[in-house]
């Protein structure tokens, strides 16, 4: 069964239909790309999947849970992680503390055990630190753990967001334009990281305008245009799809 199912999702903002009856599904272990022109509704869809916004109609199922019915933070607890197009790192917290927040859903200490610093709490804090450092090393930021996150350049911020999300041990990871602002060498490194993450068993849905990156890394591509799904299939097929070329890639192929 599919891990994540988007079923007939429509999302309206006032008079604007940002998503129109979109359906697709994501299977375990896949890397799937979501592409489309600017304003096609990709980020909107991410917001619905990660639970911070709700569809106007239709459903997003993660396994058997309807994400539209759950509190926003529950998507993460269930295993949906994400990064943001406009980076949302916690500025003026350290890089490591950023990642530690990612462990939130996987740890338990509440106010009272924090107040009292019970031994159990101390053990848990230690585990959080270790897991967070591991996540940082996975994206190659291990040596910047104690810097202030606000000082990171754009590209590293994306990596930090990935590490942060990885710390929450997601089953599905949503990446919103992770390669934006990276040069080619850096993009190649990013592809390497994404592949490793996939090999560790995380299913990935990504939005990206860098076609090289998309074609290189994804197993399947979904194309949105003006909120409608216009194509879905393996990269090679998408690349040659007339409609996709016209709407997105450009004529002079």
């Amino acid at each position: 069964m599919a891990l994540l199912r988007v079923e007939n999702v429509t999302k309206r903002f006032g008079g604007l239909e940002a998503l129109k009856d979109v359906s697709f599904s994501l299977h375990d272990g896949q890397v799937k790309a979501l592409i489309g022109p600017n304003g096609a509704g990709k980020t909107t869809l991410f917001n619905l999947i990660s639970g911070i916004d709700r569809p106007t109609s239709g459903h997003v199922f993660f396994r058997d849970e309807d994400l539209g019915r759950l509190a926003p933070h529950m998507a993460s607890r269930l295993g949906v992680g994400r990064t943001f197009q406009h980076s949302k790192v916690f500025d003026d917290m350290s890089v490591l503390d950023n990642v530690k927040v990612g462990r939130y859903g996987r740890s338990h200490a509440g106010v009272f055990s924090a107040f009292l610093t019970l031994p159990r709490h101390r053990r848990e804090e230690k585990a959080i630190s270790e897991a967070s450092l591991r996540a940082l090393r996975r994206v190659g930021l291990g040596d910047r753990a104690h810097e202030s996150a606000g000082n990171l350049p754009v590209g590293d911020r994306h990596l930090l967001e990935i590490a942060r999300s990885l710390a929450s041990e997601p089953t599905v990871l949503l990446l919103d334009e992770p390669a934006a602002g990276l040069n080619n060498e850096e993009t190649a490194q990013l592809a390497e990281i994404v592949r490793r993450v996939r090999d560790d068993g995380v299913t990935i849905l990504l939005v990206e305008h860098d076609m090289g990156f998309v074609m290189d890394i994804s197993d399947e591509v979904v194309v949105l245009d003006y909120g409608k799904k216009i194509a879905e299939g393996p990269p090679l097929m998408i690349r040659n799809d007339e409609e996709v070329i016209k709407a997105y890639l450009g004529e002079d192929l």
């Binding site: 600017n38 754009v154 334009e177 934006a180 602002g181 080619n184 060498e185 305008h209 450009g250």
Partner: protein, 249 residues
């Protein structure tokens, strides 16, 4: 003439020095592009030129005058206009109001607002459709269009662009670079920071490569395009798959 030049500029944040003795010249009507890794200091350099951060040493001159005593807003008034990283739109104001504010520094001496606005709408029809929408709710790409449009409203004499292609669909990147070329052909000088080195160098007259706050390579754009070292790092093919997002050009 609208010539921008930096000599021996250095600066940093807090105690950490980021830029080291940068020399740079962008001639009238010239396009200079800067490529460099993440964190090389490109954005910092543009901030220094706009006056958003102070400098520790060196000089910045524009149109032959030293800018060391000019405020951010005064520099904009001189025609030195930046399209900042991350767009920095006025999120709770409408598209149209954003454009109007773009023309703020030309409120006394510029061309009529409506004329310029319609030009922007011709350039980016998407913005015309969304003219009453709050800028903060535009999609990433729409926001980028608006940021460029807003800068054009200022009738810049020198445009500082920080990664204009970021977040744009391939089709749109091409369109925007076509627009930039067109603007340049009307005599507008540009300092362009861009991750997509190939498309940037194709547009530019000259190019510079920055590494850790220093200019390590400077040459004609065409020469850099052919430079194997640059090719390897900035348009190297990764993973055997695709290449640059404009590879199809």
């Amino acid at each position: 003439m609208s010539e921008l030049s930096l000599s021996q500029v250095s600066t940093g944040y807090g105690r950490i020095q980021i830029l080291h003795d940068i020399d740079l010249r962008v001639g009238d009507g010239e396009i200079v592009t800067i490529v460099g890794a993440n964190g090389a200091g490109k954005t910092t350099l543009l901030r220094v030129i706009s006056g958003l951060i102070g400098i520790w040493g060196g000089t910045v001159t524009f149109k032959g005058r030293s800018l060391s005593r000019s405020s951010v807003e005064a520099r904009a008034g001189l025609g030195l206009v930046q399209i900042p990283e991350g767009r920095q739109l006025f999120g709770s104001m409408t598209v149209e109001e954003n454009l109007e504010l773009g023309a703020y520094c030309r409120r006394r001496d510029g061309r009529p607002f409506l004329e310029k606005r319609d030009e922007v709408f011709t350039l980016f029809p998407r913005l015309g459709e969304r003219r009453r929408q709050q800028a903060g709710t535009l999609s990433g790409g729409e926001q980028q269009m608006l940021a460029i449009g807003r800068a054009l409203m200022a009738e810049p004499e020198m445009l500082l662009l920080d990664e204009p292609s970021m977040g744009l669909a391939p089709l749109l990147v091409k369109e925007i670079f076509t627009t930039l070329r067109e603007l340049n052909s009307r005599g507008l000088g540009m300092l362009l920071v861009e991750q997509d080195a190939r498309i940037a160098l194709k547009l530019a007259d000259r190019g510079m490569v920055m590494e850790r706050g220093r200019v390590v390579l400077e040459d004609k754009a065409s020469a850099l395009l052919d430079n194997p070292e640059v090719q390897a790092i900035y348009f190297g093919q990764h993973g055997g798959g695709g290449g640059s997002r404009t590879e199809n050009e």
